[in-house]
């Protein structure tokens, strides 16, 4: 299935709160054998990770960082799971790809169940579903109301990365992020010097598809501003 309705009642598994999440199943390598506690927390999230290409390229670039992909489509999630297991098995000796994993979830509804306030340093939104129809715009992954939730799980100074081949969607995402009081757009110079932008442009399966079709890729990155004084 190419699409999944983010508003329906899916059979989903999610923790009651971030404290209830057992991350050791996803990242067994980072579980302290003595205390049973995780030695690291997830700080990079790829929302709608698709086939996982971005994570797989981010993994060696951020070897000490836990990266999570969230994907709502069951089959796609299963595929990424298998892919990561295979990658881990192929690199057992050097513990490769232990820092990435995927889970099936609806980030628009349950992101706060997984992440504490300010836990994330980077969030990726790569080639999200464009939802062209006007009346479907609330189903878009970037809306002014959802941005407040993303801002809440991002730490101050954290980065939101967006990339799409749909100009209209790009303009929509830029507009909403620019209007949001907790985000500020980063310059083209910044984009060109950032290694994640480079990976994002080239790594994802969607990105490669656009490349083959010689389509445009629109990138926009935003910094999470410090929370202002409460009035």
């Amino acid at each position: 299935r190419a699409h999944s309705n983010p508003f329906s009642d899916h059979q989903l598994e999610y923790p009651v709160s971030p404290q209830d999440m057992d991350w050791s199943k996803l990242y067994p390598h980072y579980k302290d054998a003595e205390t049973g506690q995780m030695t690291k927390k997830v700080t990079i999230a790829d929302i709608g990770c698709g086939f996982g290409g971005l994570m797989i390229d981010l993994s060696p670039a951020f070897p000490e960082t836990l990266i999570l992909g969230m994907e709502i489509r069951v089959q796609v999630t299963n595929y990424v799971e298998d892919r990561i297991i295979a990658l881990r098995n192929n690199t057992l000796s050097r513990h490769g790809f232990q820092n990435i994993n995927v889970l099936r979830g609806n980030a628009m509804k349950f992101l706060p169940n997984f992440f504490e306030k300010g836990q994330l340093s980077k969030m990726f939104f790569c080639f999200p579903d464009p939802h062209f129809k006007q009346r479907k715009h609330k189903a878009r992954i970037i809306t002014n109301t959802l941005l407040s939730e993303y801002a809440s799980v991002l730490k101050e100074g954290g980065i939101v990365y967006t990339i799409t081949d749909v100009k209209d969607l790009h303009e929509w995402m830029v507009k909403h992020l620019e209007e949001h009081p907790l985000f500020e757009r980063l310059s083209t110079e910044w984009e060109n010097s950032d290694k994640c932008v480079k990976i994002m442009r080239n790594a994802t399966e969607e990105g490669k598809k656009v490349e083959r079709k010689k389509g445009d890729k629109f990138v926009a990155c935003f910094r999470r501003l410090p929370t202002p004084t409460i009035l």
């Binding site: 299935r1 999944s4 309705n5 983010p6 508003f7 329906s8 009642d9 899916h10 059979q11 989903l12 009651v16 709160s17 971030p18 404290q19 209830d20 489509r73 069951v74 089959q75 609806n106 628009m108 509804k109 349950f110 706060p112 169940n113 306030k117 609330k138 809306t143 002014n144 109301t145 959802l146 941005l147 407040s148 939730e149 801002a151 809440s152 949001h180 009081p181 907790l182 929370t227 202002p228 409460i230 009035l231």
Partner: protein, 445 residues
């Protein structure tokens, strides 16, 4: 048998002298004097014509299509090749077997100075602002404004300035409207915050540093606290519910109570985010459960013994440490005491049995007001509502029978002849709609 439609909700003014009641798409006003006298003082009926609204939209869409075709230079042609000239747009009418459309009124709320009453109308998904004229003998309520929304408003709250209404809708968005502004023709407002889930309740609170916050609850177990007016700043979530949250209410000292599809009532300190206590009511309610609490057939097992129940409403009386709630389609209200010594600790105070299923619960001063599904009452219809009062002498809640019976009388007297407010069994509005909020995860992918 024709009978007077059960009351769907009530709201009492602070001094107890005015009681508003919802029946179908009407709001009735009653005056109550301490000498146990009731007086019927007005009825307001939502006569919004939905067909007109649809007609407007259909015509607009037709105009749009015509102009679009014009710009594309497309001519509509029939099968024979003659050009078609569009006549007036047809208004779609529901076919046979279509679900009936109910034009509910919901969410009664008085402004702090009680000069205005706020309600929501399903007919055009609007928030209604009434002025309250206490002196009037025939027409206490006068509709002053009608703000219509793109999605159905489901809960309202009033900000501290007493002029801003916070509206939470079924699509998950929250809007703020200034009661003093005039409604605009075209809806252009942006939500001030939103969930990707149906909102079930909203509450405005204030912390010790004088900051205002909005607490919103939804069908996805979430209770979210955001600052106001900086609603883009999420303060926190209160995690603990495993099923939908249907109702929240606030107490002093940052205590919040919440309930819904879980077996427990939750008490929170919304300032610290701590879950102060939970009160499991499942054993208490067991004797009151009936066939209405069997799970819907498509979620039922072969033994047909899956039972599902949920709290419809939780309400706190001011000034006294008591909170009451009821489980949908049961004949009792359960009153809990909130401990003063151990902050937020809940204990059973009292269970009050009633002759019929409870439909609504509200609270004012030392009194809980409930309305009952009295369709099955004998010849003379009674038990529309009960007023349950706290008696400090023996520290117990008791039904004020005299007041309740006289209220039944004034209702029977004033509404019996009103055919709009009478109903056959089939015309009764759905009175039990909270249980359907339960999620069963039916969609796999």
């Amino acid at each position: 048998m024709t009978l007077i439609h059960p009351l769907q909700n009530t709201l009492t003014s602070r001094d107890g002298s005015l009681v508003f009641a919802i029946v179908k798409n009407s709001i009735l006003s009653f005056k109550y004097q301490s000498s146990n006298q009731w007086e019927f003082v007005g009825k307001w009926t939502d006569d919004f014509d939905k067909a007109q609204d649809i007609k407007k939209n259909v015509t607009k869409e037709q105009q749009r299509q015509i102009s679009e075709n014009d710009t594309k230079n497309k001519k509509l042609k029939s099968n024979k090749g003659d050009s078609i000239i569009k006549t007036e747009a047809k208004i779609p009418a529901p076919g046979i077997g279509a679900p009936p459309i109910y034009s509910y009124i919901r969410n009664l709320q008085l402004t702090p100075d009680e000069s205005k009453l706020i309600a929501c109308a399903d007919s055009d998904k609007s928030v209604l602002i009434f002025t309250v004229d206490r002196a009037s003998k025939t027409n206490v309520l006068k509709l002053s404004k009608r703000f219509s929304f793109p999605k159905r408003p489901n809960a309202i709250s009033i900000a501290e300035d007493a002029a801003t209404v916070i509206v939470a809708d079924k699509f998950g968005d929250v809007y703020s409207i200034d009661m003093n502004s005039s409604p605009e023709d075209k809806f252009t407002q942006e939500p001030i915050l939103g969930h990707v889930s149906m909102l079930t309740d909203v509450c405005m609170v204030k912390d010790s540093e004088d900051h205002q916050l909005i607490i919103t609850s939804d069908r996805d177990e979430h209770i979210r606290i955001s600052y106001y007016p900086q609603c883009y700043i999420v303060d926190k979530w209160l995690f603990g519910h495993k099923h939908f949250v249907s109702s929240i209410c606030c107490d002093k000292d940052h205590v919040l109570l919440s309930a819904g599809g879980d077996n427990e009532i939750f008490a929170w300190d919304w300032k610290t985010g701590e879950n102060l206590s939970t009160f499991d009511y499942s054993d208490l309610i067991k004797p009151y459960l009936n066939d209405q609490h069997l799970a819907p057939s498509r979620f039922q097992n072969e033994e047909n013994d899956i039972i599902e129940f949920c709290v419809s409403k939780i309400a706190k009386i001011n000034n006294l440490p008591f909170v009451a709630f009821f489980v949908e389609a049961t004949k009792c209200i359960i009153i809990l005491e909130i401990s003063g010594k151990e902050k937020g600790k809940l204990s059973l105070k009292q269970i009050i049995d009633l002759p019929y299923n409870i439909i609504s619960l509200s609270a004012q001063n030392d009194e809980f007001q409930i309305t009952l599904d009295n369709q099955k009452s004998p010849q003379v219809q009674s038990s529309f509502a009960k007023f349950i009062q706290y008696n400090s002498n023996d520290d117990k809640f008791v039904i004020n029978d005299e007041k309740s019976n006289l209220f039944d009388e004034v209702i029977t007297k004033s509404l019996q002849e009103d055919s709009n407010l009478n109903a056959e069994e089939d015309d009764i509005y759905p009175l039990y709609n909270i249980a359907s909020l339960r999620k069963h995860g039916e969609h796999y992918s």
